[in-house]
Symmetry: C2
Subunit: 129 residues, 2 copies
DNA sequence: TTTTTGTTCTATTTGACATATAACAAAATT
DNA sequence: AATTTTGTTATATGTCAAATAGAACAAAAA
């Protein structure tokens, strides 16, 4: 699985990593129950620190996306993964900010819908594209 | 116009202020051409520092939401305010992150749509509600 | 037995955020 | 004309998150 990190981005590395992994799961490049690389190996591969990878993994566990076994992290196999209240609150805040900017800049509903569909296309298996 | 700041929020104060002002414009509590309170008076009113207000104002000018006269900041009167490329990029990144979380947590399209409409209701003039 | 795993701890560096204070020129007010 | 208000600029300080570095540990896997 490909992971690309932009060190100079405003977005923290651990946040970038979190979304790269979520992307991998949605694209089925990471399957339920599949193990993730160890914090040390992944850190070494993409050239970042071990603790940064560990932070991303632990936050993903906290969200329920990953689970933790005695040894190592794996993709959660639960069919129904529901968002927890504190994360739902953050989700709503992000949605509100996006809606506000959409209206402030007078972006049409079609324009947003098109962008959304372009994004969704990148989140499908290569097979289905 | 009401402005409420949560000092303990993860969101920086200047960012909170930016969205409060955008909200005020959408709700028509701030009209095109209308002047905003001076950085000192607003800072004093809501109990934050002058430079924090100034930072929010300047960023809003940079986005085209406000303009600056010889003296003071005013709401931009341009009918067509179009988003600039760098801001559009950030917008797309935020939209992507939201779409990813929507799918990862298996949220239905109806659920998102409902949340969106609840938000949009808060962005209308009180008259229209 | 050796290696690998995540965990924990201490330490350091960097930058953003926010505040505080002061001084300035230009504009508005009195 | 004098005073006040405006945004601007500069310096300084404190706090915190992010990221790195290195070391040590017990438990599990090889």
């Amino acid at each position: 699985m490909y992971i690309r990190i932009r060190p100079d981005s405003e977005t923290p590395i651990y946040t970038q990593l979190i979304y790269q992994i979520k992307k991998g799961i949605l694209r089925k490049e990471l399957l339920p129950g599949e193990g993730l690389p160890s914090v040390r190996s992944l850190a070494g591969d993409i050239g970042i620190n071990m603790h940064t990878v560990n932070k991303a993994y632990k936050l993903l566990v906290e969200e329920g996306v990953l689970t933790q076994q005695k040894k190592g992290f794996i993709v959660n196999s639960d069919t129904k993964l529901e968002i927890q209240p504190p994360h739902l609150l953050l989700y709503k805040e992000r949605l509100e900010a996006l809606v506000i900017d959409t209206q402030i800049f007078g972006m049409s509903e079609e324009m947003v819908e098109q962008m959304k569909q372009e994004i969704e296309a990148t989140l499908k298996k290569d097979d289905e594209k």
